[in-house]
């Protein structure tokens, strides 16, 4: 599996929002404004990349050698939760400006299933350490691409004359469906890249 394939897969073909259904709650919840979408995107890229690295090490260096594979779920979620806390403290100490930008989004990430999702998918796909980290990064970029595009659309939708019953979630979901349809066109495009 080469890195180009992972990048294109994460960005377009297996986009976390449009085809894998991961990270939808923050996607719908925070896509009303481009500004919040940008903040969340940065936080997600950061946490997903680091979580991919740490969870891979936990699995391959601790759980696998000890034959404790069945503790995967509980280990990963605890690792992610503490990681988010740690990142929050470190960012606060090192860069108050960055903390101001990301601060309120960081605690929300623990329950973003995209993070736990990428950690488990990395292991299931038998990725090497470098592939895992890169996959975390690429998938997070794909998620960010989705939320940024959609926030742009939604800012305009706010001004549109939508039937009362369709306001809010229904419009957001139908809009996401249409974008998912568009992204569907990417599937199968780069098929040959995925042959190991």
């Amino acid at each position: 599996m080469n890195f180009v394939a992972i990048l294109i897969g994460g960005l377009l073909i297996n986009n976390y929002v449009f085809s894998r259904f991961l990270g939808l709650c923050p996607f719908v919840g925070l896509s009303r404004k481009l500004e919040t979408a940008t903040g969340m995107s940065m936080a997600v890229v950061f946490v997903m990349t680091v979580a991919s690295a740490v969870s891979w090490l936990m699995q391959r260096l601790i759980l696998d050698p000890l034959g404790l594979g069945y503790l995967q779920t509980i280990t990963f979620i605890l690792v992610i939760a503490s990681l988010v806390q740690l990142v929050e403290m470190v960012v606060q100490k090192l860069s108050p400006t960055l903390y101001q930008a990301l601060g309120i989004y960081l605690p929300l990430i623990t329950t973003n299933c995209a993070v736990l999702g990428v950690a488990i998918l990395n292991i299931q796909s038998n990725f090497t350490f470098a592939e895992s980290v890169f996959n975390g990064f690429a998938s997070a970029l794909g998620w960010s691409l989705a939320i940024l595009l959609f926030a742009g659309i939604r800012e305009r939708l706010e001004l549109a004359d939508v039937p009362e019953a369709m306001k809010g979630f229904p419009t957001a979901l139908v809009g996401t469906g249409l974008m998912s349809l568009a992204f569907f066109g990417f599937q199968g495009l780069f098929k040959d890249l995925f042959i190991r």
Binding site: L71, T73, A81, F169, L173
Partner: protein
């Protein structure tokens, strides 16, 4: 007794986690390509929700305030792993279909939200009733979405391994409904219909008054 009944039924209609609270979207959309997928996902979530509600409620006086969230996560993750192993052993086909979304029940916001906002503050019987009610509400919602998608997308419905319409209904299946876009469309339209019904009943009751 009356209160217990209220706690049980609240989650099914009034506070339905999917249709009214719009929580836990990922599994709701991802696994609902068929009625039975919705059924088993609903059952798995109901079990985790009820058990974690019971344990959290029992331990609500023991768990220190400061570490309650990590403690809740440990409780939830434990029951999710139990479900995962049980499914792997007894329903291997379903385990393969639901795939990554079984372990991801851990991060289903409904469960942590109920532990935090209900089970951590209420006695154990009410917490159990709330868990069962919310779980049933969730199950009904995902079965409805799964059923609609399967019906339109394959022109048939399979219930416990039996096709309900024999050779299929007399219309060409709209495959888009079982593809990812269909999931978004189905839930979007369902929510809009429910909104419209809600508004109509609200305006009807206000004219009566």
């Amino acid at each position: 007794m009356n209160r217990l009944w209220n706690d049980l039924t609240a989650g099914i209609v009034k506070e339905n986690p999917v249709f009214r609270l719009v929580l836990g979207l990922c599994p709701t959309l991802a696994v609902t390509t068929a009625l039975m997928n919705g059924f088993w996902m609903g059952m798995a979530s109901t079990f985790v929700l009820t058990m974690s509600n019971i344990i959290v409620s029992l331990l609500r006086k023991v768990i220190p305030e400061k570490i309650r969230i990590p403690a809740y996560i440990v409780v939830i993750a434990t029951f999710v792993t139990i479900v995962q192993m049980a499914m792997h052993a007894f329903l291997p086909d379903m385990y393969n279909i639901l795939g990554i979304f079984v372990p991801l029940i851990v991060v289903n916001c409904i469960i942590l939200a109920r532990a935090e906002s209900f089970a951590g503050k209420n006695p154990v019987l009410n917490a159990a009733a709330d868990g069962i009610g919310m779980g049933l509400g969730y199950t009904i919602a995902v079965m409805l979405i799964g059923g609609i998608r399967e019906l339109i997308g394959t022109a048939n419905l399979v219930f416990f391994g039996k096709a309900l319409f024999g050779a299929g209904l007399p219309f060409p299946p709209a495959v888009i409904m079982i593809l990812p876009p269909g999931a978004f469309f189905t839930l979007g339209v369902l929510l809009a219909i429910l909104n419209a019904m809600h508004q109509r009943s609200k305006s009807a009751s206000s004219t009566v008054q």
